[in-house]
Symmetry: C2
Subunit: 122 residues, 2 copies
DNA sequence: ATATCACTTAGAGTTTACTTTAAGTCAATA
DNA sequence: TATTGACTTAAAGTAAACTCTAAGTGATAT
């Protein structure tokens, strides 16, 4: 699959896909004799993973480290697990903070709906 | 309350507090004759709100607009409510994406714990 | 008195994650 | 054959949100 199709499929730009490859998150993607990238099914699975994690705010540097260990095979299993647990903790904290803000927004909108703003400063 | 105390209380730096003020999110904070900021209870409440929303990833530009409308009084109630609803939607989408990533991380860690990695590529 | 410490300012610098630019290759269509 | 369109590269540029630097003021401790 060519880069523009992949970009479309995952709603990323071709620039972003090449950037991820430069950073070592994906690939190196095999190229035809004309130098054009040809993404395999495995590449697509990896992009899907990266996209999901990036959408959650996990950093490029973490993904890079994790995926490079992944490529080194079984001997890195323990370290990879540790990294995942660490990132899960960070993610959980962010999730909780966001839930709190979400609840607060809901509460405020509710006050607006009930014309009860006068009782609140913020 | 002086800036360093406020910074400590909210686990922000004094630079960040001055930056928020420069950007019009808070203040202008009243200053003593020596030019030193003296934060009021109302200032603190507002900082708490800003911190909560920033922790959830809401942009400075939104907070700036919202809080400036807030300062303009009752005539902006309708617009403020609209902004909140819009931001709530954005936040909800992020929350869902993060929940998805969180579930995925949990699942992966579970696979690592069960030595079942061989069955999965990613 | 002098040093230390917390504060002040304007403006420059940093980090992260892209995004754009410039210059070029190659295949297909008018 | 010329141009259109998708692709390629390296490197520079951008946006957001801080963060740091330099230079200075004023109160207090030695």
């Amino acid at each position: 699959m060519q880069i523009s199709e992949v970009a479309k499929k995952f709603d990323l730009t071709t620039d972003t896909l090449r950037y991820y490859e430069r950073e070592g998150l994906i690939g190196p993607i095999a190229k035809g004799k004309n130098g054009i990238r040809n993404y395999t099914e495995d590449d697509l699975q990896r992009i899907q993973f990266v996209k999901c994690m990036r959408a959650a705010g996990l950093e490029i540097s973490f993904l890079k480290r994790y995926l490079q260990l992944f490529d080194e095979g079984d001997k890195t299993v323990k370290e990879r697990r540790e990294i995942l647990v660490e990132q899960r903790k960070i993610l959980k904290e962010k999730l909780d903070a966001m839930q709190e803000a979400y609840d607060r927004l809901n509460y405020k909108i509710d006050l607006y709906d009930k014309n009860m703003l006068d009782k609140k400063l913020m």
